[in-house]
Symmetry: C2
Subunit: 227 residues, 2 copies
């Protein structure tokens, strides 16, 4: 699939770009400055030459022309950047992965963004798009280490079941990741806020945590939408 | 340790009472009605006769005399019940385990309670007590199945490190549970809200999920406070 990552030059966006390219997607890394995007692509291809044919640099408008879109800007730019590209994004699956966090005394605290979550804010900004919230809890560094699997569940929520299935199928192709259907987009509030707890655990235990949920057997309805 | 559970007749409170008794604690199940508490104790002892010598029924004021307190009332009674017993609770470790959730169209949605979390609301109601938030994500039914271990991490947060250590040591004695230090009490907001996502997964996958975090090695500073 051709995937555009708006604001794809930060750690999470570029890590996800590398990971998605590594599983066979064509990824356009978008940025406000296409030159920053070119620099990010150069860095990634420098590390993993095999990704060269899968990664392209562009501005955000160019990335927005892709089939599926990921919003990877800082959380407070996500809704605005989506809105600026609203026509290109109409009808498409748009993945929101940002968390509204603020650092207070070296600790991360979740904020309540407009509409209750970054994902809901983006959905309000581009009502013709099909917003899916995903990838909030994956550590950015590990996301970009494409030679290693990521041992994590990925909570996915959204109001459009077909869009959730599309994103679930992508997640299921990432080695070690299990997509989980976490219900409607309103659950993004709690999923985003919980990232603050995971970051706190990272600091406390000097590690990178990833969440797993016990008690769930694989559900073919989620991971194989084509069946 | 002698542990009092205020509002201990509901599923979470009685399940926790049975579990704590099963690992050797003396537990007083408190309730607004001591007769309801007696009924709960009878039910539990009927199922597990070996807990008879560990479980006592009382009213909330009686349970509040114990060494360590658990608030297991419905979330909207937690702060009020704590405040009514404020003198008895002064100086003590008080565990907040409730989640502020509301059911909308068969789905659970988190609410923002006064002060941002149930735990913070309780802390404000009993400022002389040492509030620790814990046990939010454990499924109540499995908590009460004392013959089975619970395969789950337990996120514990609070502003008093010694109080967090005390609760961590109790959690560490529950077979299958791993206590994790999740930072200050402000993290209770996200931990409580995340319960709505877990309940959603329970419905979606017809199971009872419990969270585990990959990437953390056991930390002796958390699990062995006496060292």
């Amino acid at each position: 699939m051709r995937i555009g990552i708006l604001g794809g030059t930060g750690p999470a966006g570029s890590g996800l770009a590398a990971r998605l390219a590594s599983i066979g997607h064509d990824v356009v890394i978008g940025s406000r400055s296409k030159y920053r995007a070119m620099e990010t692509v150069d860095d990634l291809v420098g590390k993993w030459p095999q990704l060269a044919e899968r990664l392209t640099a562009g501005d955000n408008a160019g990335a927005a022309e892709c089939e599926l879109i990921v919003m990877a800007t800082p959380w407070d730019s996500a809704a605005g950047t989506a809105q600026e590209n609203g026509d290109a994004l109409a009808g498409k699956v748009v993945v929101s992965m940002a968390n509204a966090l603020v650092r207070v005394n070296k600790k991360f605290q979740p904020l309540v963004p407009p509409r209750g979550s970054v994902a809901a804010h983006v959905q309000a900004a581009v009502p013709r798009s099909r917003i899916v919230a995903a990838f909030h809890h994956l550590p950015a560094t590990e996301l970009g280490h494409i030679d290693e699997p990521i041992d994590s569940d990925v909570l996915i929520c959204g109001d459009d079941p077909a869009a959730v299935l599309t994103v679930s199928a992508i997640v299921d192709d990432i080695p070690g990741c299990r997509p989980l259907d976490a219900g409607e987009l309103s659950n993004a509030t709690a999923i985003e806020a919980f990232t603050a707890v995971l970051l706190q655990l990272n600091v406390r235990y000097k590690t990178r945590v990833a969440p797993k949920l016990t008690g769930i057997k694989r559900d073919p309805r989620v991971v194989s939408p084509s069946e």
